[in-house]
Structures are given as structure tokens and as C-alpha cells.
Amino acid sequence: MRVVVQEAPFGAGEEAERLAAGRADMGAVVTFCGLVRDTPDADLRYMEIEHYPGMTARAIEAIAAEAAARWSLGDVLVIHRHGRLAPGEAIMMVGTVAPHRADAFAAAEFLMDYLKSRAPFWKKEVTARGAAWVEAAEADEDALTRW
């Protein structure tokens, strides 16, 4: 398991390649990459991501450990950035490696649902019209009930 919380950009492709490199006992690698999406109605200048340094890595590790306990996984990767990000930049990625594809997919979706609502990050969008904190969607909270 590898959990990285950093301000710097990361290489999603390189990270994806490393996930199952040199292993012949795994059949499936799933990656999810979250990007800064331009706001449809207002020009997004940048996104500012705040986090809770003392808690972040530990909260993510607990979510990743829960995924590893629920599914048969060979490896789990979570990278999450904070600070100022431009439209189109990668915010975060998760990667799961498993013998079978159903486990890799389920674990990746589980990680995303929990990171969304249980990892201490807060997003602020700064547009031409001003700054606003991104509100948590009810759908994101509801998504947790499926696990």
C-alpha cells in the first residue's frame, strides 16, 4: 500500500505502470484519476485544495486498509494533491491491483467514494466572478451506503 499527500504534480502514467510491474500473479489493474474540471458557467482560474495535515495520510491509510480487507488485492495506491491547481491538472489518483477484475474495480470505486467524503480535503473554486467553497453533494454521502 502506498499513500502520498503532496503539493507537487505526479506522473499518473508512470504510477499506473509501476502498479503491477514485475508481477505475474495479478490479472487486473484499475486506475482512477481526478482532474480539475473547468466550471461550465464561469471561467475557472484555479482550484485551491486545503487539507488537515495531521489527519490526512492517516485517514487515507484507514480507507485503503479497509479496501484491502474487503477485497483480494495485490496493491493499493492513493495520491492526493493539495494547494493551487490549474484547470486540467490531476488532483488525485487511486490505483488497485488484483488477481481478478471485479475486485480491482470494486476497490477503486470504494476508495473514491470514501476519499470524496471521509478524507479531510476541502476544495475552493476561484473563478472570474469570485471564490466559492465546493459544497459536498448529497449524492456523495449517499454513495457510501452501497458499501
Binding site: Y52, M55, M92, K116, S117, R118, P120, F121, W122
Partner: protein
């Protein structure tokens, strides 16, 4: 009891500071919130709708009725928006 109290996102902005040290006799998170609200308008405003606020005690997400005995750090913040 001395506690480090942390604020994040719009809570930090409304209260006007990211962290402070608080001397308190509060037995629970809810009691601490009442003490803070009694201090100044900006605290009272920030904590008006508790359904919009989450709390962590010693970096573990928890509820407002959680005991503060042995607590060292309490953090308040809006629902998280990671991912």
C-alpha cells in the same frame, strides 16, 4: 484543560484564524462549541448550523457528543470534498 482547536475551509475564514489554544472545562465537543459561540459573534455565526459542520477529536472523525477527556486536539470543518 488546554486544547488545540483547528478550523478549516469556510469555518477558518469565518472565524478568522486556522488554529488557537483554548483553556476549557468542556466535557464534550458540544459543550466546547457552546463555549466558543458565547465568545464572539464570529464564532456564534460560524457554528450556527451544526448540521453543516464535522468534527475530529485527535484526528479521528467523530460526533458532537464525544467526550473530551484526554483530548488534545479538536478540529472543526465543513463536510469534506476530496477526490
Amino acid at each position: 484543560m488546554t486544547l488545540d482547536v483547528l478550523y478549516f475551509a469556510w469555518l477558518r475564514e469565518r472565524i478568522g484564524l486556522p488554529r488557537e489554544t483554548v483553556e476549557t472545562g468542556a466535557a464534550t465537543v458540544a459543550e466546547l462549541v457552546e463555549e466558543l459561540r458565547a465568545r464572539e459573534d464570529r464564532y456564534d455565526m460560524a457554528f450556527r448550523d451544526l448540521s453543516a459542520i464535522r468534527v475530529a477529536v485527535d484526528q479521528q472523525l467523530t460526533e458532537f457528543d464525544t467526550s473530551l477527556s484526554d483530548a488534545r486536539e479538536v478540529a472543526f470543518f465543513p463536510p469534506m470534498t476530496g477526490g
